[in-house]
Symmetry: C2
Subunit: 437 residues, 2 copies
């Protein structure tokens, strides 16, 4: 994409109303703009990153055997009355009346809708187990939306729901998602630690929040230093026993949020215990027959008698992840995108758009990058070099290639790695090989 034809409104100064670094950088890098309190438009650069994050989430859900569908944003209040949650949910639910005065709402989550769909369409034990997911916009009417997309009102969420014939099966479905979540976050360059979370009246141990460590995180967290090491996620998720062993092995290492601290286990960890702040990016939860029972979901079991399915739900904050990634990966000059979610892989800078030789060399390399299938943002504008450098550092593409008259005299271009700041001079061919390799 040529920057001269793009829509990428960067800002030099941090907007006064942004308090945390990811919010500031997303505004400055022209990724988002607020259009109402806690509601954002995703400008082209932000939209590209959102789609890359979404695609990683999708691929790992598919790999875990979950099936994608899409539920609507607007739900009927009647469904929420069937589960008994309509009156309890409180002011975070955006309640609406349509032109016929029927009560509807903008879904904050979708347990009711999916349970109704499954109830009306699944008949027998052969229809289970199934895990269904969707990636759809949700709305929660936060009383004080803040921190940009980290605590907005309209947000993109991946929510999955599992249906099993028994608790043992449900635990296997849960474990599948447990590993899928670790894989998902790892692919985005994030280290997310699963922490025991509240199960409320359901009880048991099947509830985990996935927390990314960041000094600006909303909650205090405590964990064993083992969680700082790279972990292999190589396990056969179809083998229920092996998977259970794998998950148990991981959770043997202590990790807890402030509300779920365990003095005995902390004492055991001793000087391996660490404290930090964290951002919740995912939550998985087993809730048994809470919704299936309330909403009358039942299937014919293998022996002919009716079975009420065991359910779990599994959420990832897709739009929130963008903020979490920036909180975890930035420097004074701007964002430092992990390769897997970078909006473009390469930023190509023509230092002298008014110089025919520079422009010809830049156009030529741009064509080659496109032919090689490398996502490239080409700064072909007639601007000062300093402004171009600042923009590229701010938007944080993994590689920069700089073409200027002095280099061309020597037959070289400059290649810069954004993450390290390392710069090397090399031939156009070598630069091309490096960024495609």
């Amino acid at each position: 994409m040529r920057l001269s034809r793009h829509f990428l409104p960067v800002m030099k100064e941090s907007p006064a109303d942004a308090q945390i670094v990811s919010h500031k950088l997303m505004l400055r890098a022209g990724m988002i703009r607020q259009t109402a309190a806690g509601i954002y438009a995703w400008l082209p650069l932000g939209h590209r990153v959102l789609r890359k994050i979404e695609q990683i989430v999708r691929e790992e859900q598919d790999r875990a055997g979950a099936i994608e569908l899409l539920m609507p944003t607007i739900q009927s209040a009647d469904l929420w009355r069937q589960s008994g949650r309509y009156d309890d949910y409180g002011l975070e639910m955006l309640r609406i009346k349509d032109r016929h005065e029927r009560e509807i709402l903008f879904g904050p989550t979708a347990e009711e809708v999916i349970t109704a769909i499954f109830r009306d369409n699944a008949r027998s034990y052969r229809d289970l187990p199934r895990t269904l997911y969707n990636i759809q916009w949700k709305f929660r009417d936060e009383v004080r939306p803040r921190f940009g997309v980290m605590r907005g009102r309209e947000f993109l969420m991946k929510d999955a729901y599992s249906f099993d014939l028994d608790v043992e099966g449900a635990r296997h479905s849960y474990n599948r998602m447990f590993v899928a979540y670790l894989r998902t976050f790892k692919r985005m360059g994030l280290s997310a630690i699963p922490m025991q979370a509240d199960t409320g009246p359901i009880g048991g141990d099947l509830s985990h929040e996935f927390i990314v460590l960041a000094p600006t995180g909303e909650s205090e967290v405590f964990y064993h230093t083992n969680w700082e090491a790279e972990r292999s996620l190589d396990v056969d998720a179809d083998d229920a026993a092996a998977l259970q062993g794998f998950v148990s092995g991981l959770t043997d290492d202590y990790a807890a949020t402030d509300e779920k601290r365990d003095e005995a286990r902390e004492a055991e960890a001793g000087d391996k215990l660490k404290q930090s702040r964290g951002i919740e990016v995912g939550h998985i939860f087993f809730f048994g027959t809470k919704y299936s029972q309330a909403m009358g979901l039942s299937v014919q079991g293998p022996d002919g008698s009716p079975v009420t399915p065991q359910m779990g739900s599994y959420g990832i904050g897709v739009s929130r992840l963008m903020g979490a990634i920036i909180e975890a990966s930035h420097d004074d000059a701007g964002i430092v995108w992990p390769e897997a979610v970078a909006p473009y892989r390469v930023g190509l800078i023509n230092m002298r758009a008014d110089d025919a030789r520079c422009s010809a060399a830049s156009d030529d390399l741009y064509a080659k990058l496109q032919a090689a299938g490398v996502d490239t943002l080409y700064d072909d504008r007639d601007e000062r070099g300093g402004a171009k450098f600042a923009t590229m550092d701010l938007i944080g593409l993994p590689w920069q290639i700089i073409i200027g008259p002095k280099g061309l005299d020597k037959g070289v271009v400059e290649l810069k790695r954004r993450a390290t700041g390392e710069r090397v001079e090399l031939s156009v061919e070598d630069a091309l090989a490096k960024v495609t390799g």
Copy 2:
């Protein structure tokens, strides 16, 4: 995907509440389920088609030079007060009050949001021309939602908005979209005819509806038989004069909806005039400075003086297109998907899941199809052959491969083309070559 692990609830009978064939078939094929009046969940099969349609729309927008972003579903009433449309819009707008009693709404369209974004971020003539688009859910509170996704309340729309320095530039942007629309619909196997539409107080000739012919269409249309011929869409859209000539050449052939009939041109067409019904799948519209003026959008022109940009908007009903495609392409047995939007390319039927040899041969071919990157739905269920045939015909995949014991005795499988019903027996290798080729 193995059907034994899928979520594909097909129905033998047509639901009583569905009046038109696309609605009936989408319900029967397990593509959609209504979750509230005029609001649908997209089950896995419907979701796959929706994403394929969306991707074709996206690729043709990108090719036309439009830049993708994403606007939120919820908009502020204040923005609509700036354009003066808030009070005029009527009951189709879903009006909402949030917890702080602020007036918000579920966007039925996004002229106001995009104009505000452009106003706050574009500064000079260098920022124009630009066409920005998004593919996002919209809501229109129809008084009587009907015909399934053809006239639902929550629907997926591609809406693009162009910003130009002068009317001549705007006409070029308009022509680009004109051709992009024809390309988009053609890729989906649809023949959509652009018909002059109302421009209201704006005047001029820059408003076209794109209409797919179908007996169940909502409007009466009239057109010259020339529109029945295949047309080349090969034109250099960067060359404004060539593009204008091309578009004028096309629109020389008469086509009009009931409201815009022209007696003189119909007389001229003589016995080449045809009458039919049609479904509107797209609408492009130039509206000058209507929103830019009302909302204070102005940029610095090349000579330093302020310029109020000329705007147009360009909509495609993405979810509605699915209904239109089915209306245009089905038979008594079910849907006949054009290849480009089919949910899977191949349906593989194991006729005897209880026969080890049949299952081994089917599993083996399924693995080969997957390895070759062919989207395949594999009916590995232990069901009667007749039910499997009926399901495959109903969901309308372009190719069926049928593996049964009699064929295996002869060393062949059966390959069926859904569109023609043609069946041939051939070796597994030849069948594979045929569906990958």
